[in-house]
């Protein structure tokens, strides 16, 4: 189990580094533009320059540190979940199993929350609604993970012909997703920043998270494969 956690830590650090690299390249421009816009708006409305706690450079480093720390945490979770569902995925090689878990994890943890509450750059977001938005974000994240788990249990447990099972599984997931999307209210904030800027940021964010999850699944799968084959040959 310790070796599994070691794999998770390593893969998580690599995933965090991938996200940080993406943020430093694709994400840097939109974030700088958005902060410049935010500053010009606050100058125009209040006239007062608000004191920044950290400089831009420190926040960029802090952002990278945060992404790597987040990646590490994600890596630990991913490797433990993979080990826990391992017996259910015995038909797959470790790499294939890891890539599958990575794909489902990305959809459940990143893509579905993103489609309901897309990432927003600085300059978008009303400080007064941040708690409400945090609760809504947790709600969509939790419901999405719950739905994925429930549909997976259904897929494992139901006895149907393969084609009927595929349709039933897809239908259940689709209906569940529709219920989640309709039940949760929209983002309470109005978005006044230019759509071009907002979407440049959103695509960079989604791309970075996709790169992180792909790295996570690939590195975890590769290391599990190596450890499995070294045990088989020992």
């Amino acid at each position: 189990m310790k070796r599994i956690l070691g794999i998770g830590c390593l893969a998580g650090l690599a995933a965090g580094a991938a996200a940080a690299l993406f943020a430093a390249t694709a994400g840097r421009g939109p974030i700088r533009d958005a902060i410049a816009l935010e500053d010009s708006i606050s100058h125009a409305t209040s006239g007062a320059h608000h004191e920044d706690l950290f400089s831009r450079g420190v926040q960029e480093i802090g952002g990278a540190v945060g992404l790597v720390a987040f990646g590490l945490a994600l890596g630990v979770i991913f490797s433990v979940v993979l080990a826990a569902v391992g017996p259910r995925l015995a038909a797959f090689t470790p790499l294939a199993a890891s890539l599958r878990l990575g794909l489902f994890g990305f959809v459940a943890v990143v893509l579905v929350p993103f489609l309901k509450y897309p990432a927003n750059p600085p300059a978008v977001g009303d400080p007064d609604t941040v708690n409400e938005r945090t609760v809504l974000y947790f709600a969509v994240l939790g419901l999405s993970i719950l739905l994925t788990w429930a549909v997976w249990r259904f897929h494992l447990g139901v006895s149907l012909a393969p084609v009927a099972k595929a349709w039933a599984t897809a239908a259940l997931y689709g209906v569940g997703l529709a219920v989640i999307f309709l039940a949760l209210p929209g983002n309470p904030d109005s978005i006044d920043a230019p759509a071009d800027l907002v979407w440049r940021f959103r695509l960079a964010s989604l791309g970075g998270l996709a790169a992180a999850w792909a790295t996570l699944a690939l590195v975890t799968g590769t290391l599990f494969s190596r450890s499995a084959s070294s045990q088989a040959s020992a």
Partner: protein
């Protein structure tokens, strides 16, 4: 392959695999590993989502330091 020393209590489905195909390690995940997962979730929360609900004073500093990463990860921000 239960290297953790924890005995298997739940019956495992045995899928016969050709010996050449390496499979995922067949381990029961011990409780302490799940505790680590819980810790990882808590760490993620503090890095990514803490807006002052739990830590009111330190939160602002934490929030601003990780600011760019938070936005980039798509979590709600001020």
């Amino acid at each position: 392959m239960a290297e953790s020393g924890v005995c298997h209590t739940a019956p495992m489905e045995s899928h016969a695999l050709p010996a050449a195909v390496p499979a995922l390690p067949d381990v029961d995940v011990p409780v302490w590993a799940w505790a680590l997962v819980a810790l990882a979730v808590v760490v993620s929360y503090f890095v990514m989502l803490e807006n002052g609900v739990v830590l009111s004073q330190v939160a602002e500093t934490l929030h601003e330091f990780f600011h760019d990463g938070r936005h980039f990860a798509g979590v709600p921000c001020h």
